[in-house]
Symmetry: C2
Subunit: 180 residues, 2 copies
């Protein structure tokens, strides 16, 4: 593989996918990379529902679209939808979060999403993290308990479009030394 | 580099560092990997303060320790402390967060921390993300405006201890197919 920096450069949010199915071994390696994700106090507050059933996946895709707002109408193209459910974290992370007034699972889920999308890139796959979804509909479709938050959706598939250059703030905009 | 999965396996929270300084080029590649991190609506709600001044770094280390609770007394060993400050995100991410009752920067900062620690691992460095810090003290030491949240501290340095095996939930505990 390339260096991590090259991998980070290659990863992008893909919004067009072709029909090629994702190989089982690739998906399994991505899920293993997800499993290894670190989290606050090792709480691992997540479950991943792999939606690869064609009809169900299309229903999930409908629950992430908002035609009125023009959001995410491309999601149906991706053959695999990973639905990320937030689970209860452990005692240490909860206590720490209470004292520091933070909800650490939000950060943990960012790390998890990062592992999944970088692992997908490493497998030559495209991915896209979707934060905008109709939780109620997704919960019903996948029989997720009402007590659980449906946090994110991650699309996986072979991308159709080429690599784009990234638009980011410059290093001097975001980095300083020994003082703010 | 190894595969992403091997990199994810190698990354660990290091709590012992030796005296070897971190090369400037390595630090710069890690910061570049951080800069490329994705975020909700590309809001990039972060600033990174590199603390590599010896005295200042030790003061920051004191602000992350809680001797009474036995927390993080090892931080002084790491030659570089990255202080991650949460910045205001952009309009789209704010609006989306309001509607969905989420604070997307928490997730964004998880992604950023993930890029930094994985890039560090790729450079043969150790790292550790610390969520437990005395914000007030850190803010004062680095002249961070009162309006900004000091989100995380990330230690960087050459690790002293060997690789540990990871303790994680099993794949069947966290992954299911087409149903919760």
């Amino acid at each position: 593989m390339q260096s991590f920096l090259e991998l980070a450069e290659k990863r992008q949010s893909d919004r067009m996918y072709n029909d090629q199915p994702v190989e089982k071994e690739k998906l399994e390696r991505i899920l293993e990379a997800a499993r290894l994700s670190p989290s606050a106090c090792n709480g691992q507050p997540w479950k991943i529902i792999v939606v690869d059933n064609f009809e169900l996946k299309n229903k999930i895709a409908d629950a992430t679209s908002s035609k009125a707002l023009g959001f995410n109408h491309f999601t149906k193209q991706a053959p695999i939808h990973l639905v990320i459910v937030e689970e209860s974290t452990n005692f240490s992370s909860k206590i720490g979060g209470l004292i520091k007034r933070r909800h650490y699972p939000d950060t943990d889920l960012g790390i998890l999403a990062s592992h999944i999308t970088l692992a997908a890139t490493d497998e030559g796959l495209g991915s896209c993290v979707i934060g905008w979804l109709n939780e109620k509909k997704v919960r019903k479709l996948l029989k997720i308990p009402a007590s659980r938050r449906v946090a994110l959706l991650i699309l996986l598939g072979y991308p159709k479009a080429a690599h784009r250059e990234k638009i980011r703030k410059s290093i001097t905009d975001i980095v300083s030394y020994n003082i703010y």
